[in-house]
């Protein structure tokens, strides 16, 4: 049933929301609103008897009660073709780069979730050559993982660095509340490395309407899903998801929904999860890896946005003072790639050992962090002015070496070299019996003196 009727009377306007009386309207369908403010798309977000509530993508500012509303009879769609690559659009799909509009293959956004039975266990490591990632919190294809940082940290640089290292077929960038300069920087970084040609960008800048910000993840992920179904490994970069959550909050408040926590709607978790869960390694098609940025208001990880995100994603990289913190940072999929036993599979015609980096990987990973935790305690004691015991002295030496040789983001080494370096640092600072490593491993890997 296609409803072509045009309506000319809006009964109520508030925030980005308009209410009018209309018939035969479908839940979630799209309408076009033409008013003094221009033309904008809008989505049906509530039906109540004859009353239809619309969310206007460009916001309600300047929309008048006599605006022309035409229901389109279908849900929000995004065009899909290879012509998207190398291009940049707004959250509602309008070209941002002066290029032609793309209309091919309109595909609905926000599709149902993947059947868990059609997922496979992620097992392909993404090598970044950053020891804090590769050694301590390996990134894995199909992982969903945010960078937690306060405003001002170089999170977008880190995002771009990983994106360039990761050898994906397609990159989709979803920018939310992005500064225009940052958008340009992303473009030029990708351009310089030649990756722009395999990238599509959906960018909402801080100056654009709020509702468009809310659309960015759905649009980006719908496109990513299409590419993945063609068998491609797709990397999606979403920055900044806190802006997305804030857009949801703003809309929920204008809808007079009861907030659950600091003004955020009660379904914040489900809403974020619906997006992040698009990360997948399909059984019989490609994959989607999601790397996101979640800025933490007030550097507070218990703020509802990072908190809910942490409960959804498969770990997080905690960026603080330009370094990836060992505490707070986590990759839940690391154990999928560092099992320490051989398991070979065919990937693109090559035999790849998927489970094993090196048999000492897990042990070094845990032992070094445990010792670093003790170092932190020693630092605390030292700052109180206590005498340092012989053991404290060892920890102090260790902590300094660890920070310089492992944590510094300028370090750029292969995982195996990082493992060797780990043993070297331990041997430089401790005796074999002091590091809590089973003898069968230290027999093999403990560096010989001299």
């Amino acid at each position: 049933m296609f409803n072509n009727k045009i309506y000319h009377k809006i009964d109520a306007l508030s925030g980005s929301v308009a209410t009018l009386r209309a018939e035969g309207v479908k839940y979630n369908e799209i309408a076009e609103i033409e008013s003094r403010a221009g033309t904008s798309l809008a989505q049906v977000i509530k039906l109540d008897g004859p009353n239809v509530t619309l969310q206007i993508f460009a916001g309600a500012r300047g929309v008048d009660t006599a605006a022309k509303v035409r229901f389109l009879g279908e849900t929000m769609k995004v065009p899909f073709s290879d012509a998207l690559l190398g291009r940049a659009f707004t959250g509602s799909g309008v070209p941002r780069d002066g290029g032609p509009a793309i209309t091919e293959n309109p595909s609905p956004i926000g599709q149902p979730s993947v059947n868990p039975a059609k997922r496979i266990m992620p097992n392909r490591m993404v090598k970044t050559n950053i020891p804090m990632i590769d050694l301590f919190n390996s990134l894995v294809i199909s992982q969903k993982l945010p960078i937690f940082a306060k405003a001002g940290e170089p999170y977008n640089d880190l995002l771009a660095r990983i994106a360039l290292q990761a050898d994906s077929d397609v990159i989709v960038i979803g920018g939310m509340g992005l500064k225009y300069d940052e958008y340009l920087k992303f473009r030029s970084t990708l351009d310089k490395s030649g990756a722009l040609a395999k990238t599509v960008m959906f960018v909402h800048t801080a100056a654009d309407p709020t509702v468009e910000c809310k659309l960015v993840p759905d649009v980006s992920l719908a496109v990513a899903e299409k590419f993945a179904l063609q068998g491609k490994d797709v990397l999606v970069l979403l920055t900044d998801m806190t802006a997305f959550a804030d857009a949801m909050k703003e809309i929920a408040i204008t809808m007079e929904q009861i907030p659950s926590n600091r003004g955020y709607p009660g379904d914040l978790y489900s809403q974020l999860a619906a997006r992040y869960e698009k990360a997948v390694d399909f059984d019989g098609a490609g994959s989607i890896t999601i790397l996101a940025v979640t800025t933490m208001p007030g550097d507070d990880v218990t703020h509802p946005v990072p908190d809910n995100t942490g409960y959804i994603t498969e770990g997080q990289f905690y960026l603080r003072n330009g370094r990836i913190e060992p505490f707070g940072s986590l990759s839940r999929l690391k154990q999928q790639v560092n099992k320490g036993v051989d398991k070979f599979v065919e990937v693109d015609g090559k035999r790849v050992n998927i489970n094993k980096t090196r048999e000492d990987h897990r042990t070094i990973m845990d032992a070094m962090i445990k010792l670093y935790a003790q170092y932190k305690e020693t630092i605390e004691k030292q700052s109180m002015g206590f005498k340092m015991s012989a053991w404290d002295q060892k920890l102090l030496k260790y902590g300094a070496m660890f920070e310089e040789k492992m944590m510094d983001l300028s370090v750029n080494i292969d995982l195996i070299d990082a493992l060797d370096l780990g043993w070297q640092i331990l041997a430089d600072c401790f005796d074999r019996t002091e590091v809590g490593i089973p003898s069968k491993l230290s027999d093999k890997f403990w560096p010989k003196k001299g």
Partner: protein, 588 residues
């Protein structure tokens, strides 16, 4: 006569329906959308209108669309064919959904299709029915009529899968006729029963039971006194779970709730494990799904998957079926309990279930309680855990349902409605701490804050003694932050090192190490003996550094000991080494 209705409002996954006729609270209805029928459940009735939560996306529904009511409550199908299945929250088998969706298109196969529902029990499969009841027998709900073999229930090492008188039948019946031994599908008649008024009832292997109603075909509830062996040392020794008991695992994100539950699902000594992945990550379910079939269960010698059922309603699946999923899980558990089995239900995470209730309550515009959770949150949580228990069945045997739920408190702060409501009703509390998980001290169960009302595998006074050393050691550790190591007496310092030793070699257990991941009780007891020796000895050291060196060396030997197969020669020889080291260093 079932009622019919028309949609008058749509708001998210909630529809309001004007109906003719009679409807019941929690009755299931279907919103008709072209050739699709979207399943929904009545959550509130007011006059001639009812509010329904739809178990699928409501996109494209219109005011005026038809709703057909079923006259039935939301129910699970119970019978042979559930083991090793992976279901969604409404008991749709996920693998079958994929196959069915593949008929639509190649790409459709990957996604959950709206309005597609499939039977929970396979209809075409035949089961070898062996009757045990005879004509003339007097039977009532829950009593056995016969059995079939299914997977581990082979009637050899394990009993067969019992076919029981449907739980919904009230009163006593006389068996009129029982099918002879042979192969039947779950919908074929296998018996005819006659009630007190002479009315005949035909019985099939499959029965339906409303998931939100507890099954109560037992004679009495028994106290949960026996320890459920999880093979996680901290749990079995310090914070035990009882067979038929309840416990919860609250903790901030990434602290290790899911890993702990996965380990338990793998190694716990129970007959059946039902994992409810409720509003969490799909990837975690996939891990279980792909790994369990390859693991051999030492008890049955068969694949671990054969004792497992997964109810998987992950975070991006419809939120209304997430609400239903924990009930589906516990209903299936109660069914197996009726056969005299011990069943473990692991729900991860109950907070997501509570949030599903909150979303629903918000759409109903109910008066919100704390953090916008509905006022009935506490009673719902209590009623859920109340479905656990050890019971005496009509044939004199016992069966049990044990429930362990994770809780995901906002900001990792336990002072929030779901954690608090849960703590009021459970028998064990395994609180995970961020400080421990940051320091990679897994499992991150806080050894000072956690508690359990159940019986340990070690005598209580010995456990208490060890815990008091932990507590004291922790106090010394705190004090050292103020007065420094030099301001601490050697005695206190030794206590501190003892506590650290207990933590490092006993409490900490690496779930990803093949040798360490599981410690059966017999081994725990031997380990505890040695740890206890080290804790209770007095030492003759003069210097702190010397003491530290001793404990580090002891720890190293202990870690190597943990690596050795139980009761092997190496195991015995390292045990002797440990004993000798402790003896030599002690001053008595």
């Amino acid at each position: 006569m079932t009622a019919k209705g028309k949609i008058v409002a749509v708001n998210g996954n909630m529809i309001t329906v004007a109906f003719d006729g009679a409807v019941a609270q929690n009755e299931v209805g279907y919103a008709v959308l072209g050739d699709q029928r979207l399943m929904a459940e009545i959550v509130r009735v007011r006059g001639s209108r009812c509010d329904m939560q739809v178990f699928d996306a409501t996109t494209d529904l219109m005011v005026g669309d038809t709703v057909e009511f079923s006259g039935e409550l939301l129910a699970a199908e119970l019978g042979p064919g559930m083991l090793a299945q992976v279901y969604d929250g409404l008991q749709n088998p996920l693998a079958d959904l994929a196959k069915e969706a593949a008929k639509i298109s190649k790409d459709a196969e990957f996604f959950l299709q709206r309005g597609m529902y499939l039977p929970g029990l396979p209809r075409d499969r035949k089961w070898d029915f062996h009757p045990t009841a005879k004509p003339g027998d007097r039977v009532s709900a829950g009593e056995a009529l016969g059995w079939v073999t299914e997977g581990i229930f082979d009637n050899k090492t394990m009993p067969g899968h019992k076919i029981m008188v449907p739980f919904a039948l009230r009163g006593v019946y006389t068996v009129k006729e029982v099918a002879k031994a042979g192969d039947y599908t779950v919908t074929e008649d296998i018996a005819t029963l006659t009630d007190a008024n002479g009315k005949d009832v035909k019985v099939q292997m499959m029965q339906r039971w409303p998931v939100k109603v507890p099954i109560k075909c037992f004679t009495e509830r028994l106290e949960p006194t026996e320890t459920l062996e999880t093979t996680v040392r901290t749990i079995d020794t310090f914070f035990p779970v009882a067979i038929g008991g309840t416990y919860c695992i609250p903790g901030p994100f990434g602290a290790g709730k899911t890993v702990l539950q996965q380990t338990t699902a793998r190694y716990a000594k129970v007959d059946i494990v039902i994992s409810a992945a409720c509003g969490e990550r799909a990837g975690e379910v996939v891990e279980t799904l792909k790994e369990f079939p390859e693991i051999v269960d030492p008890k049955t010698g068969q694949s671990l998957m054969k004792r497992t059922i997964i109810i998987c309603n992950t975070s991006s699946m419809p939120v209304a079926s997430r609400e239903a999923s924990v009930y589906t899980a516990v209903t299936l558990a109660e069914y197996f309990r009726q056969m005299g089995l011990n069943v473990l239900v692991l729900a991860d995470s109950t907070s997501r279930w509570a949030q599903a209730m909150r979303e629903l309550s918000g759409r109903l515009e109910e008066i919100p309680g704390e953090e916008a959770f509905p006022a009935y949150l506490e009673s719902r949580i209590a009623a859920f855990y109340e479905r656990a228990g050890r019971v005496k069945l009509k044939d004199g045997s016992t069966g049990s349902v044990t429930i362990g739920g994770t809780v995901s408190p906002a900001g990792g702060n336990f002072d929030e409605p779901v954690t608090q409501a849960t703590l009021k009703v459970v028998g064990g509390f395994h609180g995970l701490s961020r400080a421990r998980s940051d320091a990679r001290r897994y499992p991150a169960i806080d050894p000072l804050d956690s508690w359990s009302h159940y019986n340990s595998v070690i005598e209580q006074p010995r456990v208490e003694k060890a815990r008091s050393i932990l507590r004291k050691g922790n106090e010394v550790g705190q004090m050292m932050k103020v007065v420094g190591e030099e301001g601490t007496s050697l005695e206190d310092f030794t206590t501190y090192l003892k506590a650290e030793f207990l933590d490092a070699v006993y409490l900490q257990q690496n779930a990803f190490s093949d040798s360490d991941a599981t410690t059966p009780v017999a081994r725990q007891q031997v380990m505890f003996d040695i740890v206890e020796k080290a804790l209770l000895s007095g030492y003759a050291f003069k210097e702190k550094d010397e003491t530290r060196k001793f404990f580090m060396d002891l720890q190293q030997t202990f870690i190597d000991w943990n690596d050795k197969p139980f009761d092997s020669d190496e195991f015995k020889s390292l045990k002797a080494t440990l004993e000798k080291k402790i003896e030599e260093a002690s001053n008595v």
